[in-house]
Amino acid sequence: MSIQDEVDEQFKILKDNYPGRELQINRLQCLIGDIHQVVPPSIFIFGDSATGKTSIVKAIFSKYRENASFINCIDCYTPRLLFEHCLNKLSGYVPSPDNLYTNYAHCETMSEFVHYLIEICNENKNNEDEITGKYLIFDNAERLRETNPLLLSALLRIPEITNLNITIILISNIVWEKFRSQTGVLEPILLQFPSYTKNEILNIMIRDCPKDENKNFYYIFIELLYDVFNKPCRNLNELRHMAMLLYPKYIEPINEGKATRNDTVKLFKHIEIYFKQALDKLYLRNISSSEWNNKSIEDYIEPSINSDISFELPYYTKYLLIASYLASYNPPRYDLRFFSKSSENKRRKSRKQEDVSSSKKSQQLYGPKVFPMERMLAIFYSIIEDPIEGTIDINRQIASLLTLKLLIKIGNTDMLNQMKCKCNVNYEFIQYLSKSVHFDITKYLYEAI
């Protein structure tokens, strides 16, 4: 079978396998489907993640044999890797033990790359009249901007410079505007992969239906799932991942004989609690898929409070961290009011209501402020319950907090007592810590959250 026949066949298969992408596949076929014609200089394929860009293009070019090179720019992060992989693929050269894993050629610069490219294209040319297109595909093309500002402009100009029948295809999830630079990038043909609509998503997800399952029954399940999850997330991959893990839970009552397939309401009541948990746990990847499968129903109904924070620190270190949080979020001029031992009765009043509404934007929202070490230590000695017995090495604790990145050092000095810091933990975390040492942080905070 000739390459052209295989390619035509592949396009036909793709149109069946990718519902909702017919238009895009047709456009691609129109532009690159005929391997023996003049190819367009460059095509830019873009669209949100999980819209089938990479998988469709990869599937098409798997049939082009040596005429196409598919490069993922995350794998090939330097120009040399990029060039050498391209040349290997186009020449059909495979690094193996026999050739000591060498590449087709050593190639570090654009200049050499252009030479080898011409060399390869001329080698394969057998018939004068018949032209064959060559295709260089770069997935995750946004990474190309990082390596060398001229690389992208040069790549897009390869067809013009070499005068070969070559096309550059870039795939990215960023819009084309972000690729323009002042060196004059040649504008490619834009090909958008729009996000799937609800119907398209359901049509794709129904293909995951287990073999022995009734399609209509499964459809009710995925429609339910879509309606619950589409607000925070429309990524097809995420939805399919959820469907895979939630489906066994959905049919649990049926397997246990508690419900039949027609009891939609009963099944819905049963799965509802799982849906809620799935968003918190599965979607945020707080637990792994296998953990999820092994958990029993009781675990979902009574989730332990703050179970996602699992972190332990020594007693005094916790106080140190709390002190640093207070130093970061309280304005220094109120320190006297909150922490001075003499004004015992005054300090308990935190300024909850009065100030927050009057200031244009709450200072709390701007994040942690920088504080000098002395201030934090002063707060620390003021908030610990009983005076420290014996000597503990406070400095070493501070150093360990710094290595854990719970405190962030500002400036270059390495002297601990001159250092300025910022607290790097959020309110939920500090709340959890204070609870564990029975310390009421809200009393000391300038603006309660």
Partner: protein, 442 residues
């Protein structure tokens, strides 16, 4: 229009178009559109071409050295002039016996002088010399090349050197290459012409003093088509098949050319040409639109259609950011609207906490109507949504990561308030309450 196509259909059966004809026509036009063929007529650039032609001819025939710069906008036809010039000169002087040599370098490809020198030696077809030079130092290569170029007298073979993206060559260390090339051109050594192509008007100021003094200060300016008539002529010219082509169905060529003329008389077609010409007078942008309709030609549809051109135009010039926003989830849309609210308060830089706070305020406000819970999500879920927006570069962090908790990392939104409003209106699954929030004008 309908009648026209009907007549064409009738004619087709008489014309007997076969697959070979269609493919042949496709090949010719595509070669034109992608700049692979040099047979295209130059429109509005005849003077520039003639000047350059005279310069080169003098060098080839009388051994006079020269240097010149060809300056013009992107896509105005500099490379095309050179391609055509070299093609014609080759036909004229190199047919029987090689009487001159050409070297073409591109600033994007030959990114330093060493590479440029190697490439020059390679193109002067001294491949055996290449092998010896592979491991030698820069100075040795340079002196070798200078030897080759300077031992000659007025009677040696002339060399035409074309430097594309000339401005990039001026960034090379000490401008050694340019210095030497201009030096050879100025002193009567081997006859050479140095032609630099650039789109930077002030390029002469980039030259060092000693380089500048050796350059002949001859500049040829190219302009993109200033009148829409010329602009249109260039486009139509690339879409038509030359009448003198043989071995193809002549009637088909005739109807095809007629059809092209008809297409460009169409109302809506005129509209998009005018609109595009107002945005940019670079013909390349329109030629790109023509690519897809031409690729569509097949034995069943041997003539391009107006609608295909219009489709290609809208696809190329649609606001892709708004398109991207159409597919975002409700939560992501809410976050973007929250950013818009902050912008309206003249807060240009914000962090996640501020966005979330704004979002929370909105949810509390609509809580009374009963559907607030449905669209409210925990901080971590919202954070994940925001990270996706950063990944698709609709939001740009302005601080390096790791300097503070990521909730407080400052960022800015890369969308116009107008684009956000458009996206909200076009979003298919957006609830009414959010639609009102997003389109509210301050």
């Amino acid at each position: 229009m309908l009648q026209d196509t009907n007549i064409n259909m009738l004619q087709d059966t008489h014309l007997n178009i076969n697959r070979k004809d269609v493919n042949y026509i496709k090949k010719i036009i595509l070669n034109n559109l992608t700049g692979k063929s040099y047979s295209n007529k130059l429109i509005g650039l005849e003077d520039q071409y003639n000047t350059l032609y005279d310069i080169c001819k003098k060098t080839i025939q009388t051994g006079e050295s020269n240097s010149t710069l060809l300056i013009g906008n992107r896509g105005c036809g500099k490379t095309m002039i050179i391609n055509k010039l070299l093609d014609n000169l080759n036909k004229e002087f190199n047919e029987e016996k090689q009487t001159f040599l050409t070297v073409r370098l591109n600033g994007l490809v030959q990114s330093d002088d060493r590479l440029a020198l190697k490439e020059m030696i390679y193109q002067l077809s001294q491949e055996e010399a290449m092998e010896n030079l592979n491991s030698t130092s820069f100075s040795e290569i340079l002196s070798y090349l200078l030897n080759v170029l300077s031992i000659g007298t007025k009677t040696s073979k002339p060399v035409i050197i074309v430097l594309d993206e000339f401005d990039l060559f001026t960034q090379h260390n000490k401008q050694t290459l340019l210095y030497n090339l201009f030096d050879i051109a100025q002193s009567n050594q081997n006859p050479i012409v140095v032609i630099g192509l650039t789109c930077q008007l002030n390029v002469v100021e980039l030259l060092e003093k000693r380089v500048k003094s050796r350059y002949s200060h001859r500049q040829i300016l190219c302009f993109p088509p200033l009148e829409i008539e010329n602009f249109e002529k260039i486009i139509i010219n690339s879409l038509k098949i030359p009448e003198n082509i043989t071995n193809i169905n002549e009637n088909y060529v005739k109807t095809f050319n007629n059809e092209i003329d008809n297409i460009f008389k169409d109302e809506s077609m005129r509209l998009i040409i005018n609109r595009l010409f107002d945005i940019t007078n670079n013909p390349r942008n329109f030629l790109k639109i023509c690519l897809e309709p031409i690729y569509k030609l097949s034995i069943n549809e041997p003539y391009p259609k107006v609608n295909d051109f219009l489709d290609a135009y809208t696809r190329q010039y649609v606001d892709s950011k708004t398109e991207l926003l159409k597919g975002t989830s409700i939560l992501e849309l809410c976050l973007i609207i929250a950013m818009k609210c902050l912008l309206e308060k003249h807060i240009e830089l914000f962090n996640f906490e501020m966005i979330y706070n704004e979002y929370k305020k909105f949810v509390q406000k609509i809580e009374a109507t009963g559907n607030g819970r449905e669209i409210f999500f925990k901080k971590q879920v919202a954070m994940k949504a925001l990270e996706h927006l950063i990944a698709i570069e609709l939001v740009l962090p302005t601080e390096a990561s790791g300097k503070c908790p990521k909730e407080y990392r400052m960022m800015k939104v890369l969308l116009e308030p107008n684009q956000i409003t458009q996206a909200v209106l076009k979003h298919s699954e957006c609830p009414t309450s959010i639609k009102q929030w997003g389109t509210r004008w301050l």
